[in-house]
């Protein structure tokens, strides 16, 4: 009896190690990519910020000069302002819209699948170059939006992408328009809330707002937290929209100079790769900081079901 048990144990062991080997072989292309394309450059970029590297000749060591220069760079400080404005305006608005639409869709209706797909579509293409080009046309000084405004009788419509005070707003609107993907996640989360909670609350005389605030939000809070973390990390890294809408300049007047765009212009436009690498590490620290804060604060408002 024990011999058979031993034999089947050994057979299981052999099967498992064969399974593991096969798994690693299937993973190999991805692993090679991870090391060569992601980890390798990251390690290299630990060294680059301490060098002066103009892409065309070998890097040479300059110590912490790049980091010091960053603190005195007005355009960099401005790009931080622009990026923070973008992240902390567009993400809450986008998530609020996503939640609102998800709640509406959750009531159930004819054609629900159709609406879900239609609302999701913009978030699939939202960070593409094509959509950004379209956006630049729509919000041009003589673009479709202004043509409609003029027809409606607005006298001097704003310059949108050409006016420093409104250019960033057009990119914020673009981000809000891509509410579809957090919406789908919210919808899934809403489906998981047992209706008996709502029924019990209704019996107790709670109105819609109370039900929303005291049932939906707490039970949905893990999902809100998830979306918040992901969207903030993603928003800090936005590049395409700013690049295309401003024509690659971060203009007008650096009003759409996202941090990533300034990093790109310094690295590839001004041939200051060392400086750009320093900027990249600062971005990582900033994103890590906000993610950590997010996690720390979450214990005060996120309720996990046991």
């Amino acid at each position: 009896m024990s011999a058979i048990a031993e034999l089947s144990q050994a057979r299981r062991g052999r099967d498992e190690s064969r399974d593991n080997k096969a798994a690693y072989i299937f993973l190999l292309p991805w692993l090679v990519g991870l090391v060569v394309i992601t980890i390798g450059p990251m390690v290299a970029s630990l060294y680059l910020p301490f060098t002066d590297y103009n892409l065309l000749s070998a890097p040479h060591w300059i110590g912490a000069q790049n980091y010091v220069a960053m603190f005195h760079d007005q355009r960099l400080i401005n790009s931080l302002k622009v990026t923070f404005t973008y992240v902390f305006v567009s993400v809450p608005l986008q998530l609020a819209l996503a939640l609102a639409i998800a709640i509406v869709l959750n009531q159930g209706m004819k054609g629900l699948a159709f609406y879900r797909s239609v609302f999701y579509l913009p978030s699939l293409m939202g960070s593409s170059v094509a959509i950004a080009v379209l956006w630049r046309q729509l919000f041009g000084t003589t673009g479709l939006v202004n043509q409609i405004l003029l027809k409606l009788g607005v006298q001097n419509p704003p310059g949108w992408i050409a006016d420093p005070s409104t250019a960033l707003s057009t990119i914020i609107v673009l981000h809000i328009w891509t509410f579809g993907s957090p919406m789908i996640i919210f919808l899934a989360g809403l489906r998981q809330i047992p209706t008996m909670y709502y029924e019990a609350a209704a019996v107790d005389g709670a109105n819609a707002w109370t039900r929303f605030w005291h049932i939906t939000i707490p039970l949905l809070s893990p999902i809100i937290f998830f979306n918040l973390v992901l969207q903030i990390i993603g928003a800090f890294q936005s590049f395409t929209q700013a690049f295309v809408v401003s024509g690659g300049t971060g203009g007008p007047s650096d009003s759409t100079m996202f941090y990533t765009l300034y990093l790109y212009l310094q690295g590839f436009g001004q041939f200051r790769m060392g400086y750009a690498s320093a900027m990249a590490w600062l971005l990582m620290i900033i994103v890590a900081l906000f993610t950590a804060v997010n996690f720390l604060v979450s214990k005060y408002w996120v309720h996990y079901d046991d």
Binding site: F26, P29, V32, T141, G247, T249, G251, G269
Partner: protein, 434 residues
């Protein structure tokens, strides 16, 4: 090992993965590969342009390949707005083209970093070049570019818009900044809304330089700004005044136009009467506007053409990648482009007037009317030129001139403040970059 389905599957995935990785590594250095399957030498030619230039370049390359059957030229067209980012990336990755179209404002940067070949040392023949033109691509360390064509600043006047506004074509030998402004105001007033007298010239670099030269200053002085804030402020004040008087388009239109591509801008769509270009750009603009635009010398303060302080510029240059594996073939191509009368006839003046006087003589009889116009324009201003304009110092583009103009036009800074800000920006940008 038994040939189970699993083993075959695993082997297949391994093989595919290895194959993909191999191809991935392989394409990395095909950039410098010297021969393709047919045994011909492949020379890669990169340039920025527009539809007109792309067609002419394709034609001239076909002619070159006819005369040199053992060389195949691989065409790599691009557009100005993305060209420099792409080139920087290619140079960093070691896959830059063999023959590179170059601009004088980037020449110093690329040459000091060893990307470009010294053409004089490599033996490029520039013996028939007009005086001063063989040095247009020369820096203190050598000659890294050969001028592809010569041009000069020009004001293009749109006859249809002027006619619709009932404004006579001005006389460019006697006009002034003020008279141009007044004509522009008249045009805006007499044409439907959306059409303006003049593009906002504050965004145009050579208008800034001409104005500064006419007032005893310069944009750059070696690696320092060549002007003081008080010298620049009146230029900005004038731009602001003309925007108020509607000679110029609104701030939004002007700011947008400054980042729109040439063929979609206000000049190309017949929305302004006067716009500011380099003389070789008239070929594409005539096509876009569907008209024969008139070339006018930029204005002076005094109304005397001799005070305009114009200058010739290399519209663009040809450079050769120092790490090219096909140097002889690349030199042949560049030599053909700048020294061959056949090439000259095909390219016309779209890249500027040829520097090689023999080529210029050969193409003059068959010049199209536009080419004649450009050639005549350059000849007509030759007596009124100011001192030669030096190469733009490296780092200058980091000064980000357009931002200060935009801030001025949207009333965020005063002209004096904008001038001071720009001067500080130039000083910072040029420092430590030489």
């Amino acid at each position: 090992m038994k040939l189970t389905r699993r083993t075959t599957l695993v082997a297949g995935v391994l093989a595919a993965g290895l194959a993909l990785t191999a191809t991935g590594c392989g394409t990395g250095d095909s950039g410098g590969s010297a021969a393709n399957a047919n045994g011909k030498t492949v020379v890669r030619l990169g340039w920025w342009g527009n539809d007109v230039r792309n067609k002419l370049t394709t034609d001239v390359v076909n002619e070159f390949e006819k005369e040199n059957p053992d060389i195949k030229v691989q065409l790599e067209p691009g557009t100005w707005s993305t060209y420099w980012d792409k080139l920087a990336t290619q140079v960093a990755g070691g896959s830059a083209p063999d023959v590179i179209q170059m601009d004088e404002s980037y020449l110093t940067q690329y040459s000091t970093n060893g990307t470009l070949l010294d053409l004089k040392k490599a033996g490029l023949d520039m013996s028939n070049f007009g005086s001063g033109t063989s040095d247009m691509g020369t820096t203190p360390s050598g000659t890294f570019g050969v001028v592809a064509g010569i041009n000069a600043p020009v004001v293009l006047a749109n006859p249809k818009v002027l006619k619709a506004a009932n404004v006579a074509m001005p006389d460019d030998k006697t006009w002034t900044w003020d008279s141009l402004a007044k004509d522009a105001e008249k045009v805006t007033a007499n044409t439907p809304s959306g059409t303006y007298g003049s593009a906002n010239w504050a965004y145009t670099d050579f208008m800034l330089r001409l104005w500064l030269r006419q007032h005893g200053a310069n944009e750059y002085d070696g690696s320092k700004p060549g002007f003081t804030a008080s010298q620049l402020a009146p230029f900005f004040q004038q731009a602001l005044d003309l925007q108020k008087s509607k000679a110029f388009p609104s701030a939004s239109l002007a700011s947008q136009d400054s980042t729109t591509s040439q063929d979609q801008g206000m000049a190309a769509t017949n929305k302004v009467a006067f716009s500011y270009w380099w003389s070789n750009q008239i070929t594409a603009l005539n096509k876009d506007t569907g008209q024969d635009l008139k070339m006018l010398m930029p204005p002076s303060e005094s109304g005397n053409a001799k005070d305009t302080q114009l200058y010739y510029k290399a519209s663009m240059l040809w450079s050769i990648n120092k790490s090219t594996k096909v140097q002889a073939a690349a030199l042949k191509l560049v030599d053909f482009l700048v020294n061959s009368p056949t090439a000259g006839k095909i390219l016309g003046t779209e890249r500027g007037i040829p520097a090689n006087s023999k080529v210029l003589d050969a193409i003059t009889p068959q010049m199209s009317d536009t080419d004649k116009q450009v050639s005549d324009y350059l000849k007509s201003i030759s007596g009124d030129l100011g001192p030669t304009m030096g190469l733009t110092p490296p780092g200058a583009s980091n000064a980000n001139y357009a931002t200060y103009v935009t801030n001025l036009l949207f009333d965020k800074t005063s002209p004096q403040q904008a001038a001071q800000d720009y001067q500080n920006a130039v000083a910072t940008a040029l420092k430590g970059k030489s």
